[in-house]
Amino acid sequence: MAAPLTPCRLIGFVLLACLTALPAVAEPKLAEAWRKVAGHLYTEAGLALRGADESRERELAATVMLAAQQPTTDERLREAERRLEVLAAETDDAVTEVALYLAGRLHQVHFLRADHPRAAEYYETLAIRFPQGHWAQLGLVKLALLQLYMLPEPGGPVERLAKTGALLPRVTRPQLRRDLLIVLGRTRIFYDQPLDAVLTDLLAADEIGGLTGPAQGEFLLQIAELSFWAGHLRQSRDYFTRYLELNTADPRAYTANERLKQIEARLMAGEEGSS
C-alpha cells in the first residue's frame, strides 16, 4: 500500500520536480533567445537569455545581441569586439570560431568607418586556427572580396585576381567554394578580363551546383549570354535551355528565346562554335 501523501512529502516532490527540470529549462532558454535573434526581436531575445545558464554560448549570444542592437554605436561595437576577443582567447571551440568571424564582420561592415585591413587580419587568424571550419572558410570568402576590391595591396586587377585565386584551394566547403568561384568570375567581368576566364570560373561553380530560385536563374542566364558572346554556341544553347525550363514567366524569357533562334540559325549556317 502506498505511503500517504503528507504536506512534507508533497513539498519534497515539487522541489525534486523543479530540480530535475532546471537543465531542461536552461537549454530551451538559450535556443529561444537565438530564435528571437533570428527574428530580429532583440528585446525579447534579451529577456529569454536572462533565464539561460552562464556559458560561452550564452556570452556569444549576448554579444551578438549587443552588436545588433539599434541604434548601433561604435562604442557598443567596441565593447562587443572586446567580449569577442575574450571568448576567442579562452579556448578553441565552436564559439571561438564564431567570435573571430563576427569580430571580422564588425570591422568589415558594422563600424561607422570600415577597417578592412583589421577585418582581413581576423579572417586570416580564423583560417589559420580552424582551417576546415565553416566560419573560417566563410571568412576566406570575405577576405577574397576584400582582396579583390578594398585592400590597398596588391594594386592592379590582375594581381588582385591572382592573389585571391590562391585562396581557392583553401575553400573546400562546396557552397562556399561555389560562391567564391562566382565572385571571381564576376570580378573578372568587372575588371574586363577575357570572357573565357570568366566562363571557366562560372562553369566550375555550376559543377558544384546548389543555387536555387532567382539566384540560379540569373546565374544560368549569365553563363548562357556570356557563352553566346564568346562564340560557344552549343554551350550557350544548353544554358539558355536550362534557364527556360525553370523560368517560363520572367520577361527575360523573350530575349532568351530570341537568342536560341539566333544560335540555331548560326549553327545551321555551319558556325559550330566550340564546346
Binding site: L41, L102, V109, Y149, M150, T248, D250, A256, E258
Partner: protein
C-alpha cells in the same frame, strides 16, 4: 457612517464594473468578438482608392467560405502616413500578418530584411489553390505574369524573393474615340497607327484639325508625370541596342547600379548618337502636349482629356476603370506605336521591338516574419494569388490581375502588358532620386518651345556625373544597411543547430543568407571601387 460605507461600496462596485467592461472590450477587440473564435489574418495596404479594396474584399469573402476557421481583415492605411505607420507597428510587434511594401518607400530599406520573411522556397513549389486549373503543377512564381521579376530585381536579399504581387500595371494611351473619328473623318484607309512614324501622321492630322476648326485640341494631354512615363518608355525602347552593349554582365537586364557605374566609367553619356536621336524623339513627342505641361499635375492631364481637349492621355492602367466610366465619350485603350528600323529619327539604331508597356506586376505583399498567424497568412497569400482569386480581384477591382490565365474583361484586353519584345532595362532618364531631379529640372530645355537636344545635353551633362555618384552612393548605402542585420540572423540559424535539435531548415536559411550576403558585398565593393576610381 452607514452612508459613507454605502458610498464606498458603490464606488467599489462601479470600479469593478468598469474593470469588467474594459476586460471584456480588450478581449472582444483582440479576438474579433466574443463569439468569433476564428484565427485572424490581417493584411495591410495603402491602395485605398476605388477598386483594390473591393477586389480584396471579394477574395477574402471567398477565402472565408473555403476556410471558415479563418477570418481575414483588411487594414487600409492612407499612403501619406503609410511609412511611419508601418515602422511603428513593426517595431512595436503589432504589424499585420501580410503587408504591402515597396522598395521605393524612402528611408525604409532596412524594413524587409528585419521584419519580412523570404518565401523563395514556397514559390518554388506549385500553389495548392491552383489544383484543377490550367496552373496546376506550375511553380508558384511562374504563375505570375512576369515571374515576379521586380520582386527579384529589388529583393533586399540577392537571390531571394520576399513578396507576391496582386496586379499588373502598364502605361497605355487612352483614346477619345469620338474625337478620333472627328479628326480622321470618313477616311476609309484609316487604321490605328502601328509604328511611331504612322503616329506622327495622326499627330499632324490632329494639328491640322485644331487649326481648321479653331478648337483647342492637342494629340496628347500634358502633365509632368504622364510625360515622364511616356518619355521613359520611349527612351528605353529606342535604346535597346545601347542596353545590350552595356550588359557586359550578361544579365539581359540593367540593374540601376550597373547603369550608374557604366556612366561614371565613361561607357555611356548623352553625347552618344543613339542618345541624341532618342532625345530628339522625346522632344518631338513632347511638342504634342500643351506648353507648360511640366508645371501640371496628373489631374490636369486627366481633366484636359475628359474635357475633349486631347486625343490621348498616357497613363497607367489603374486609371482605366475611372476614365472609361466617367468620360462622356467612348474611351479605348491603345498600345504605344513603337519606332521601327525605318523611323527617320531613331531607325538607324533600331535593335528590335520592345516589350509592350512594362508588363510587370505590382502591389507587392510581404509576409511578416513575426506575424501571429504565419501559417494562415501563407495560406491566404497562396489563395489570393491563385487563378480563382486573381479573377475575383480583377472582376471586382477593375485592375488587371497579376496571375496568368485570368480572363480579362474585353475593355481591358489592350491594357494587358505583353512580353512580346525585348525588355532590357533602362535608366537613361533616372537611376535614382538625384539623376531624376537633374533630368526633370532640365527637361524644359529639351521640350520647351525654345528647347533643343544640344542645349539640354549641354546643361545636363555637367550635373549628371555628380547625380550618378550620389545615386550610386545611395544604392551602396541601402545594400549595406540591408546587409548588417543579416549577420545576427546567420549566426542565430547556425547557433540553433548547435544548442537545439538541428534542422535542415536552419542550415538552409543560413546558407542562403551567406550566399546572398556574399553577392550583395560584391555589388557594394564594385560600387565603392567605381566611386573611388572616378572621384574628381
Amino acid at each position: 457612517m452607514k452612508a459613507g460605507w454605502t458610498r464606498g461600496r458603490i464606488v467599489l462596485l462601479l470600479a469593478l464594473a468598469g474593470y469588467a467592461c474594459l476586460a471584456w472590450w480588450m478581449f472582444a477587440r483582440k479576438t474579433g468578438g466574443l463569439a468569433d473564435s476564428r484565427t485572424t489574418v490581417r493584411i495591410a495596404h495603402w491602395q485605398i482608392e476605388l477598386g483594390p479594396p473591393d477586389g480584396l474584399e471579394a477574395v477574402i469573402k471567398r477565402y472565408e467560405e473555403l476556410n471558415p476557421h479563418i477570418r481575414v481583415e483588411q487594414v487600409k492605411v492612407p499612403g501619406r502616413i503609410y511609412a511611419q505607420w508601418l515602422r511603428t507597428n513593426l517595431v512595436g510587434g503589432t504589424g499585420a500578418d501580410i503587408i504591402e511594401y515597396g522598395y521605393f518607400l524612402a528611408g525604409m530599406q532596412d524594413v524587409p530584411i528585419r521584419f519580412f520573411e523570404p518565401i523563395t522556397d514556397l514559390l518554388n513549389e506549385p500553389n495548392p489553390y491552383n489544383r484543377g486549373t490550367p496552373l496546376e503543377g506550375v511553380l508558384w512564381r511562374n504563375t505570375f505574369l512576369d515571374g515576379l521579376f521586380n520582386e527579384q530585381i529589388y529583393s533586399p536579399e540577392v537571390g531571394q524573393i520576399y513578396s507576391v504581387t496582386l496586379c499588373q500595371v502598364t502605361i497605355r494611351f487612352f483614346c477619345n474615340e469620338d474625337l478620333l473619328r472627328e479628326i480622321v473623318g470618313d477616311d476609309p484607309d484609316f487604321r490605328f497607327p502601328e509604328t511611331f512614324d504612322e503616329l506622327r501622321g495622326l499627330f499632324a492630322r490632329t494639328r491640322e484639325f485644331a487649326a481648321r476648326t479653331g478648337r483647342p485640341v492637342r494629340s496628347l494631354a500634358g502633365a509632368k508625370l504622364n510625360a515622364e512615363w511616356l518619355l521613359d518608355f520611349m527612351l528605353t525602347s529606342s535604346l535597346l541596342a545601347v542596353s545590350v552593349e552595356m550588359d557586359r554582365e550578361g544579365q539581359l537586364t540593367r540593374y540601376q547600379r550597373n547603369v550608374q557605374m557604366d556612366y561614371l566609367r565613361g561607357r555611356w553619356n548623352y553625347q552618344r548618337p543613339e542618345l541624341k536621336a532618342a532625345l530628339e524623339l522625346v522632344r518631338e513627342i513632347a511638342q504634342e502636349m500643351r506648353p507648360g505641361f511640366i508645371q501640371l499635375e496628373r489631374d490636369d492631364a486627366v481633366r484636359e482629356f475628359m474635357n475633349g481637349h486631347a486625343l490621348f492621355v498616357a497613363t497607367g492602367t489603374w486609371d482605366a476603370t475611372s476614365l472609361i466610366r466617367l468620360a462622356d465619350f467612348p474611351v479605348s485603350i491603345r498600345r504605344f506605336p513603337q519606332p521601327d528600323a525605318n523611323d527617320p529619327v531613331v531607325g538607324d539604331f533600331h535593335y528590335g521591338r520592345a516589350a509592350d508597356g512594362s508588363g510587370l506586376t505590382a502591389m507587392a505583399m510581404y509576409l511578416n516574419k513575426n506575424g501571429r498567424n504565419k501559417e494562415a497568412a501563407i495560406d491566404f497569400m497562396r489563395f489570393m494569388t491563385s487563378l480563382e482569386a486573381g479573377q475575383l480581384f480583377m472582376d471586382h477591382s477593375g485592375w488587371i490581375s497579376s496571375v496568368r490565365e485570368t480572363v480579362l474583361p474585353e475593355y481591358l484586353e489592350p491594357a494587358l502588358g505583353l512580353v512580346n519584345g525585348y525588355m532590357l532595362g533602362g535608366g537613361y532618364m533616372r537611376t535614382g532620386a538625384n539623376t531624376a531631379h537633374v533630368f526633370i529640372q532640365n527637361m524644359y530645355r529639351l521640350v520647351g518651345p525654345q528647347g533643343s537636344v544640344a542645349g539640354f545635353i549641354a546643361a545636363l551633362e555637367p550635373d549628371m556625373t555628380a547625380a550618378q555618384r550620389a545615386d550610386l552612393r545611395t544604392d551602396v548605402r541601402n545594400l549595406t544597411n540591408a546587409l548588417r542585420p543579416q549577420d545576427a540572423e546567420v549566426m542565430a540559424a547556425r547557433a540553433l543547430n548547435r544548442v537545439a535539435t538541428p534542422t535542415s531548415a536552419n542550415d538552409h536559411r543560413a546558407e542562403s543568407l551567406e550566399t546572398s550576403q556574399t553577392f550583395s558585398e560584391l555589388n557594394i565593393y564594385q560600387g565603392l571601387t567605381v566611386l573611388v576610381e572616378t572621384a574628381q
